[in-house]
Structures are given as C-alpha cells and as structure tokens.
Symmetry: C2
Subunit: 298 residues, 2 copies
C-alpha cells in the first residue's frame, strides 16, 4: 500500500473524532498539525518507541503490537496520576509491509480504548524493521497535581499495584491494562500523602531505585512481601524483570490503604524509604542484595 | 554509551529548562512525563520521523541530522500559522552508535533555537539504522486561529514564500529555517483573507494539489512565475522535487501582498484556484501538465 493511500485511509477513518471528542479534537489527522484544546492548566506529555526485535517479536499479532505501542505511553501518564487526553503515533514500516492498515486501525482503536484518541502522526517506509512511537498528552489529577518521582521521604512506605514477574514469558507485556484508574484513585485517596510514583517498566528493583535516587533517599524492598504472579517462583528474579507496568509508589507512613485492594486491584506494601542511597532487597533471613541495576533496561 | 547514562546526561543538561521557560516547562526530562502549561485555547501538535537512508545520508553531520529532525516538525507548526512551544524527541540508535550525546545535545539546541524546547523523549538502541522523531506542540495565531489546508476558494491566488527547487542537491533540506515568522506575519497581514496554507515538503505540485483537494477546488500553477533557486533551471522538475519547506498558501484575490517581500523573504503569486479538481502547471505557451503526483512522497 502506498503512503498516500494509507494517510488518506487514516484521515477518513478519523473523521468522527472531532464529533466524538468535542472541545478536545479541533482538527484531527489529515492536516499539517492536529489541533487540540487542552483548556487551562498543565498538560502531561510522554512519548515511547516500540521496536521490532526489542519490544516485540517479529511474529507478534498486529493488534498486540499496536496495543503495546499505545499502552506503554499511557502507562507513563498513569505513573503521574494523570488522565490521558490525546495521542500522536508514528510508524516506520518495512518496505512491502502487508499489515499497515490493520496496524494503524488497531493503534487508533487502542488509543480510544485507553482514553487517548490519536489526533495525528506520521508514516514512512524503509528497508529496516518495524518501529512505532506513540506520544500521549494528558492532564494531572485536578487536586493532587502531577505525581513526580522525586517526592519520596525517609520513613515513607513503598507500595505496588497488582503482581509482578514473568511478564515477557507469559505475554502480559502485550496485554496489560495501564493503571490509569488506579493512579487517579491513589491521588483521590492519598492526596498529598502520595509522595512519589513510577510505573514498573524496567523491573521493581531498578524502578524503585529511580524513585529513591530522584528523591535522595534509600530504598529497601522486603522480598517476602512482593506479590508475584502465579507461576513466578523467584522473587529476586521477578524484581529484576521488566515490563510489569504496575505502579510503584511512595506513601506517607500509615497512609490509609488498609483495605489493600482497589476495585479488584491488589495494593501491597513491599518496602520502605530510608536515609541513604541505593536500593536493596531483604530476604526472610535478613540477606541483603543491591538490586538497583537488576532491571531490564529498555 | 549506556542508555541510562545518556538519559541522565539529557536530564542534567535540561535542568535549566524550567527556569528558562517559566510557565511553560513545569517538569522537563527525567520523570515519567514532561509537564507543560499551555494555558487556555488550542494547542497545535505534530510529529515527524527522520530516517537514515531516507531523509538523510548515513555520512551526514550529526548537527545537521538533529537540525532537520526538529526543523521538519517546526515547519508543520509554521504551516498552520502557529508558534511552536515545546517538543519531544525520540532516538532509535544503531548499537554502538558513537555520537548519541552530540546528537541529543544538538536536537536540544535546535529545539530552543526554533522555539520548541524539548521537554521529554525516549531513547532505544537496536541493530538497525538511525531513526529520530520529533513531536512539537504550539499555539495558533491569536487572532487568525489555525490555518488549515481546506479553506481555499475558487478565485483565490496561490502564493509561495522564498524560492524552490534543488533542495536535496544543494543541501538546503538540511539547513532550511522553518517559516514560522513568515507564517505569523501572513496571519497578521491577511487575517481571514489567508484562506489555506501548507509547507512544501513533497514538492510544490503535490502540495498545491493537497490544498486543492482539501478545499474541493482545482489549482493552476503558472510555471513561469515559480521563483527558483540559483542554479535551478527546470521549473517542471523544481515543482516536482521535495523538501523546500517553503509556505504555499491561498489568499483572497487582490490580497494586500503587493510589496511581495517580507523582511527579506520573497513572496510570489504563482497560480490560482479554480472550479474543478487536480493540479496543473501551465507553461508560457499554454501547455498544461498534471503535476499532482510529481512530488517526492515522504
């Protein structure tokens, strides 16, 4: 398929966007720029790449590739406690690629599904592999504001949503639902007691270390408390794997999360922040292991 | 260089952004999302890819690659009559790529130079070629609003800024200055008489045809009027080449552009819009040639 036809197809399919999102999408795909009305206040912006052979295997179903391309960026919005509002997508396609329509249709669908209608983008072809990007804009929580990585304090508790481990082996890295609802709920419930947050893309160890480093404090993870997915037996390995896309957050000690579930999503206290630096895991016998570098680097 | 080091380097170098752009960059590189404050009203959004072997030759200087990656997206903002406000960049780098720092430093510099400080991005490495993207957000002209492709009317005049032709051969495709000032000035001067606009990325013929198609009218280009760069002899070939990044616009007939220069930038009336469809060039002898498909498709 030629690029012109593809772009025309995308523009045609997107004609309903301005009606479907009045006041947001002023001009969708098909012009030099998309126009969005974001009203007053802060806009959250993020962009991620999805690269063949690195973030997905070549034989992966097109719908799952599209889904992951969008979901990764949405997860960054969730990690700020925000709500996605719009997205832009790019696709660099292998010459002769046969699934371009299906791919961009699927990206558009997942954009809407996750609250970020794709209002523009760019397509090119070349002799290399498939590369997608997704830019997403969103708004922070109206009361709490954007939740940064840098707000954790000594004495804070480290919490995680859901379960971790085995994402690549199980295929969950292709089917996860970004934790937008949970991030918003944490802002609602904890308010200013929600001190810092990140999504787990490179592993609990490495991402907890990022919270600590950004905040100037040390992190300790209680290995025995880390909630693992069924079939995942090794906690040390699990916190060194990536692509969980759970939320990892610092909450003031004693924060009111006693119920420990959020509409079916598990919430687990798995550690604490302390004076110092680095990120260690502590096992049931008190064995300590530096885990800052154990995540998978994307 | 490892990605972590590179990202840390980018975050470190970007620390001054929030101070340099108060009220715009609330949170720059280094967190899950960048935060920008766009105030009330419309935001212009665009993203473009820059691909090794397609948009630049492998041996191109790093600074010129970076410049073009940013400038292409800025040119889209100019084509709406808008002003860039912020950018996001991604880089997919060949494993072992030796110029990552220089590349991202240069992109950041060009972002600032062109009015779009890069507030975030993503970096990955793989075994393929170099691929960059740049997302840019901007604001439309405060009075005229966004200038779309679709506003041209029968009887309108077709104008172009600057000169065209020979961009690839001369290297101008790497060194052009996006026409942001000119786009804004056209909005100032013409107001609602500025009916439609596009930037010339794929050739005057193909891009004029896009204005016509979006507006439901035909376009005629007077070949003898097309302003060519020095050393470019063939008008038909010149309007079939791409990468001029000039502004091509539809103005109400008799619009007050008699001075025909804008602070040193030539303005030339090169054609008209008429009832019908398609885009033809007309030579001095009245010979007509359909040129809608003669541009270079990116």
């Amino acid at each position: 398929m030629r690029e012109t036809d593809l772009l025309a197809h995308i523009a045609d399919r997107s004609k309903g966007l301005t009606g479907a999102y009045p006041g947001v999408v002023v001009v969708g795909p098909g012009d030099d720029c998309a126009v969005v009305r974001v009203g007053e206040g802060d806009t959250l912006l993020t962009v991620d790449q999805l690269v063949e052979g690195r973030h997905f295997a070549p034989q992966t179903a097109v719908d799952l590739i599209a889904r992951k391309a969008v979901a990764r960026s949405i997860s960054d919005i969730a990690a700020m406690g925000g709500t996605p509002r719009w997205g832009l997508a790019t696709g660099l396609l292998p010459r002769g690629y046969g699934h371009a329509d299906a791919l961009f249709d699927a990206m558009a669908r997942w954009g809407i599904e996750f609250g970020a209608p794709l209002v523009g983008g760019d397509v090119a072809m070349w002799d290399g592999g498939l590369v997608l990007t997704c830019t997403v804009g969103g708004v922070p929580h109206a009361v709490r504001g954007p939740v940064l990585r840098s707000g954790a304090r000594t004495g804070d508790e480290l919490w995680v949503t859901g379960r971790v481990g085995g994402s690549l082996a199980s295929g969950r890295h292709l089917t996860f639902v970004p934790r937008v609802a949970e991030g918003g709920w944490l802002c609602d419930v904890l308010g200013t007691d929600l001190h810092a947050m990140i999504d787990v893309s490179d592993g609990v160890g490495r991402d907890a270390a990022r919270l600590g480093a950004a905040s100037g404090v040390a992190v300790e993870i209680d290995l025995s408390r880390v909630p693992l997915h069924q079939g995942v037996g090794d906690s040390v390995r699990a916190i060194g794997e990536g692509e969980d896309y759970e939320l990892l957050f610092a909450a003031a000690p004693g924060a009111s999360l006693a119920a420990a579930t959020l509409q079916g999503t598990l919430l687990t206290r798995i550690g604490r922040f302390a004076v110092g630096s680095g990120c260690v895991s502590v096992d049931a016998r008190g064995g300590r292991l530096e885990v800052s570098q154990r995540g998978w680097e994307h």
